[in-house]
């Protein structure tokens, strides 16, 4: 008897494509995406893009920048990526900060004037010249990694400065060195500098990289970390998550709203509607409008809750919110309608929606921020409109860019809405006449 029940279960499952999809395809798709995000890092974390501005231009600072360049964990840029025909202008402090604000880079390091005179600080760092690390706290990992690698680079590239600073500390802490001791130290330091210069020359001539230099001693480069994007925000990251989660659930509800046409088809109501004055185009436009308004209301409620409970600065960005919520809702409504038109039953729609929405949300950054993904997946993410919508909301709430900067997102999302509607209209021809 129990075997019969098991057999019946499998017989039903075999004919239920929706359940089969949910049981096997969705988990495999998800596994593949997350394996792609987290599992493809054969060499660990991807290299972090960092802008470096050397205001000091001393031999020590140059060596330090050189060491950062040689660091495998960083991709140092001293100027914006070159565009065709336009010569690359090196970053200065303000353009590097602007690049971080615009989201072009997650971190910038400013090497201040005077850094070469006192780059290392043992004990309290008050006396040393501090590096500035400018970061965007929407990516909380990058600045920490950069900070750690700065320390590593300092150890590798400035053993002389570290040794000199160490001697100064020893001199003051031990009550003064004897003239003999001082002479020996000066001699050793001269040797060390000569060796470092020789190594630098060899590197310039294609010799061994800085990373192979013998590490001498240890110490800390004092640095000041500054969140240039979220510094004035009350609760900086919430808007980012409100956009990510909001867009994902918008897709689910848009699909459910679009699915009403399947209920109408099944109940015969669609026949009745289409035999009245309502044409299929009018019907679909009405459903698009309904789903878009529903989505807009959903996003509004979500951001209002965010404003009330989590200090999302909705009221400072009403214009940008209105634009992004409108185009995102319209695009989701179009997708929901296209998915519904592609399906024959609610059950089928439910399975397809789960697959499409979860995959789009995973790739588009609704679940895991895209900066955490490998570069290839970040690029693939642009095929989903989650990525465009989240980028738009991020521009509004995070980077506080003017609404005119939203045009790429608005254009893409409106085009997506038009494309999805065209697909839905084409697929809906099967309901018009048999």
């Amino acid at each position: 008897m129990i075997l019969s029940i098991i057999r019946t279960g499998f017989m039903n499952l075999r004919r239920d494509r929706g359940a089969l999809t949910l049981s096997f395809i969705v988990p495999i798709a998800f596994f593949s995406i997350f394996a792609g995000i987290f599992g493809s890092r054969k060499g660990g974390t991807d290299a972090i893009q960092v802008a470096v501005v050397d205001l000091d231009q001393s031999p020590v600072s140059r060596r330090f920048v050189e060491a950062l360049r040689a660091e495998g964990g960083l991709r140092v840029q001293t100027g914006p990526e070159q565009t065709k025909g336009a010569p690359s202008r090196p970053y200065d402090a303000s353009s590097a900060e602007a690049a971080v604000r615009a989201g072009s880079l997650p971190v910038a390091v400013i090497v201040p004037k005077g850094f070469g005179d006192a780059p290392i600080a043992f004990g309290p760092a008050a006396g040393a010249t501090k590096l500035q690390i400018l970061n965007d706290s929407s990516d909380p990992i990058a600045p920490q990694v950069v900070y750690g690698l700065i320390q590593k680079s300092a150890m590798l590239s400035m053993p002389d400065a570290m040794a000199a600073e160490g001697m100064k500390y020893l001199d003051s802490a031990s009550g003064g060195l004897t003239p003999d001791q001082r002479a020996r130290i000066d001699h050793s330091m001269a040797d060390l500098r000569a060796r470092l210069e020789a190594e630098q020359k060899a590197r310039a001539a294609g010799g061994a990289p800085a990373a192979s230099a013998t590490p001498l001693g240890g110490g800390l480069i004092p640095a000041e970390m500054r969140d240039v994007v979220g510094e004035n925000k009350k609760n900086p990251l919430v808007a980012f998550y409100a956009a990510g989660i909001g867009v994902m659930f918008l897709l689910f509800s848009a699909s459910a709203a679009g699915g009403a046409i399947l209920d109408e088809s099944e109940s015969g109501t669609l026949d009745r509607i289409l035999s009245s004055r309502v044409t299929m185009t009018k019907l679909l436009l009405g459903k698009l409008g309904y789903a878009a308004l529903l989505g807009f209301t959903q996003l509004t409620v979500m951001f209002l809750w965010g404003a009330l409970a989590f200090q999302v600065e909705l009221f400072r960005h009403l214009g940008g919110f209105f634009i992004m919520a409108s185009v995102t809702s319209l695009a989701s409504a179009g997708l929901g309608l296209a998915l519904a038109s592609a399906c024959k039953t609610r059950a089928q729609l439910s399975s397809l929606t789960t697959l499409v929405v979860l995959v789009m949300s995973a790739l588009g950054g609704s679940m895991v921020p895209r900066f955490m993904m490998p570069e290839m997946l970040q690029k693939i993410g642009f095929l989903t409109f989650n990525a465009w919508a989240i980028d738009g909301f991020t521009k509004v709430f995070w980077r506080e860019e003017p609404i005119t900067h939203l045009w790429p997102q608005v254009l893409v999302l409106l085009s997506a809405a038009a494309l999805f509607f065209a697909i839905a209209r084409r697929l809906a021809r099967r309901w018009e006449t048999a």
Binding site: S267, G268, D271, R272, S275, S276, R277, T433, A434
Partner: protein, 308 residues
């Protein structure tokens, strides 16, 4: 003046399977045409062709002179589908409001139409209740009302009494009769012969996508059976089997627990059969005399074999 409905040589196939194969029909002003046929005969396809929901392979349909599916034709047709095509979560009044707007009504005209249809369907006192709480009969009545809001002059009723109790059925008959009184033309598809006999001025029988007979009830009986009637004999022991040979020898046949004789001149033929039975001591328990009806015609023309 153009006829409410004129169908000429209509053909429609789904793949290699013909659903309609050269159907021609006419419906006059104020006439109720019954469309009868076994399951899968083509009734619903024909109705959907008339409302413009099925693309024709060949032939033509005109509704008051306008081609089927045209905006002008749509405004004159009231389509009542076989399914309960209503929104279950909406109330009766809200459903009527929705379909009234889809039919192009607005403002006071819409309010009047909703009120009038609620009264017509006997649902005025339940107008604010969600349709999902209604009985099958109430849903059927509302389903009919939703197709009549714009006061169409040609109504297509696709099996409107399926699955309802006798009381609701009587109410639906009364509603249809009221439409007839208002001079509306109706195409009425049904499986229930007594409905067709009671309501329809004329009947068309469709089978395998073709109209195989049409006319008034009397016409159909006459053309199918002539003046023949049926004499049924039942026997002691409730079985006709022992008397099959006796019946066959006298032109009769067994059907269930009865022996049937087809007679054209009842008085002398009945006398002859009864005399033969008495002579051979056949124990007749009772005797009934039946004139053929629409069901007899239907079964005679479409056969007794199961279709689906």
């Amino acid at each position: 003046m153009s006829l409410p409905l004129r169908i000429d040589s209509l053909a429609k196939s789904y793949g290699a399977r013909p659903a309609l194969a050269g159907v021609s029909l006419e419906v006059s002003e104020g006439e109720i045409l019954g469309l009868l046929g076994p399951n899968g005969a083509g009734k619903t396809t024909l109705i959907r062709c008339v409302v413009g929901r099925v693309a024709l392979d060949s032939g033509s349909i005109s509704v008051f002179g306008d081609p089927a599916g045209s905006p002008a034709a749509r405004t004159r047709i009231g389509y009542i589908p076989q399914e309960i095509a209503l929104y279950g979560r909406l109330t009766a009044a809200e459903n009527l409001g929705v379909f009234g707007r889809y039919a192009g009504l607005a403002g006071e005209a819409l309010e009047d139409a909703v009120r009038s249809c609620l009264n017509w369907s006997g649902l005025a006192d339940r107008s604010k209740e969600p349709v999902m709480t209604f009985s099958g009969g109430m849903k059927r009545r509302l389903n009919m009302a939703a197709g009549l809001l714009h006061r169409p002059r040609l109504i297509l009723l696709d099996e409107p009494t399926t699955g309802v109790d006798p009381q609701s059925r009587q109410r639906i008959y009364a509603m249809v009769e009221q439409l007839r009184a208002e001079g509306v033309s109706v195409v009425y598809t049904t499986h229930y012969m007594e409905e067709a006999e009671r309501l329809c001025d004329r009947v068309a029988i469709i089978d395998n996508g073709k109209i195989i007979a049409s006319g008034t009830h009397a016409d159909l009986v006459r053309s199918t059976f002539g003046s023949r009637c049926e004499l049924a004999l039942h026997f002691d022991g409730d079985s006709a089997a022992p008397y099959a040979e006796w019946a066959t020898a006298r032109g009769g046949r067994t059907s269930g627990d009865a022996v049937l004789f087809s007679v054209t001149d009842p008085a002398p033929e009945i006398a002859r059969i009864l005399e033969a039975a008495r002579a051979e001591s056949i124990p007749i328990r009772d005797l009934s005399f039946k004139t053929p009806n629409l069901e007899s015609v239907f079964l005679q023309l479409t056969g007794r074999g199961l279709r689906e």
